[in-house]
Symmetry: C2
Subunit: 233 residues, 2 copies
DNA sequence: TCGTAGTTACGTACAGCGTACGTAGTGCGC
DNA sequence: GCGCACTACGTACGCTGTACGTAACTACGA
């Protein structure tokens, strides 16, 4: 009957369990894992409070004892995945180390394709995110610059990787979910584009389509983009 | 009674109106404007099919005659906003022009804060997006490289701007929607972070907080990031 | 030791969502 | 002028997040 407590904005600032009352049946790790399991298997949209609660084996509303809002559930999931980052002994070559960080992040996102959609700077202070940040800073020890600059570097690299892999995955997903063949889709798009471009209003686009040859080397593009970001520092 | 037609995946490949039947009461532009109006005034989450239909003054399901899926409504909105890009005569200095493009895109996103959330490479072939692309390519005429490289440059710059402004806006929105003061929020976050960092597990993060001084110059950071992206080419 | 306060657990309920489907009305092309 | 393709739109379904009330449980202050 008594009013429910107003919760802190950040879930990490809440104690995981209180002293009074029945023992909590699940840990945050349990809940995060349940969410991750569902997202991996059925996609992010399948991660509903009902679904996660069912996966845990409890009633829907019981979940709200652990996670005040769905957004916090997402935050738990991102943190859990952040824990999958492998943290190695820095090599002394910060560029090489940051390239490795980028590739690892990309691999993480390919393994958990829902991750780019949840990436947000707001989630930047979860326990595992802090560990990851500290690791990046450690790799950047040889880098000559302020911490402010180092943070800018990390943010740019992360942002670029997230955007790139997000696009990569969205495109792949789009192709996979087509109710018709990829060839037909490409034909429709190509016809539309061709029609637009043929109008003569876009001479450079027209030239670009003529120049275009063969499938895009996604790996190569990614590698180049990483190097370009790092090249700016 | 007869089965409804299977629609093409891309809305731009559909003719806007057909010859038969009653005159269509609204144009795509009308619909896009209605969506934009709602999004600007009440946020992206308020843009529901029901809401947009009401704004137009028609029944909910009538909207589906124009827009087969909500995703397509979003695409119309993005295209409408893309039309707000000012297209100027290139200066001959591609770097300067691309810096201008970046600033303009940022301004666009500040004016329509829901835009970053809808940005997707999948929407990249709408009429106004094509115009914008052609304009960027025109600015890049003095750039020595293939169209493939030019596309990579545009994609990186756009991605970086979208990510950056998205973060900027999300942070601002978070602060605005707090049920308590920003100071209290910062205090809670600071206390949590301080506690974590004080544990000694994150020496570099601890050092960074000591170094940290004063509020961040968002303009300056943005400008630096743009120049760094362009510097990679 | 015992009340009681703070928790956990969870069913019910509500408002909102996207959209499938059926039906009625309208006007162009044959 | 017939018929078909299109517009218009009400109803309905299954889903969502979550507010709220209630019952069971346990650690702490008296």
């Amino acid at each position: 009957m008594a009013g429910r407590a107003v919760v802190p904005e950040v879930i990490w600032a809440r104690p995981e369990r209180a002293g009074r009352g029945p023992k909590a049946a699940y840990s945050r790790a349990d809940i995060a894992e349940a969410g991750v399991r569902i997202a991996d298997a059925q996609g992010l949209d399948a991660v509903s409070m009902r679904h996660v609660a069912a996966e845990l084996g409890c009633g829907t509303m019981s979940l709200y004892n652990y996670v005040p809002r769905k957004e916090d559930l997402h935050e738990l999931m991102v943190d859990a995945i952040s824990g999958e980052h492998e943290l190695w002994e820095p090599s002394g070559d910060w560029r090489a180390d940051m390239v490795r960080v980028a590739h690892q992040t990309r691999a993480l996102m390919v393994r958990h394709p829902w991750l780019p959609r949840l990436m947000s700077p707001v989630y930047g202070f979860s326990p595992n995110a802090l560990r990851y940040l500290e690791h990046c800073l450690t790799c950047l020890d040889p880098f000559d610059g302020t911490y402010g600059t180092k943070f800018e570097l990390i943010a740019m690299l992360n942002g670029m990787v997230t955007t790139y892999v997000g696009n990569e995955l969205a495109t792949a997903e789009r192709v996979r979910s087509l109710p018709w063949s990829e060839e037909r889709e490409n034909a429709v798009r190509g016809a539309y584009l061709g029609g637009q471009v043929a109008g003569g209003g876009y001479p450079r686009l027209a030239a670009a389509f003529v120049e275009d040859s063969g499938p895009i080397d996604l790996e190569g593009v990614f590698e180049r983009m990483v190097l370009r970001v790092l090249g700016g520092f």
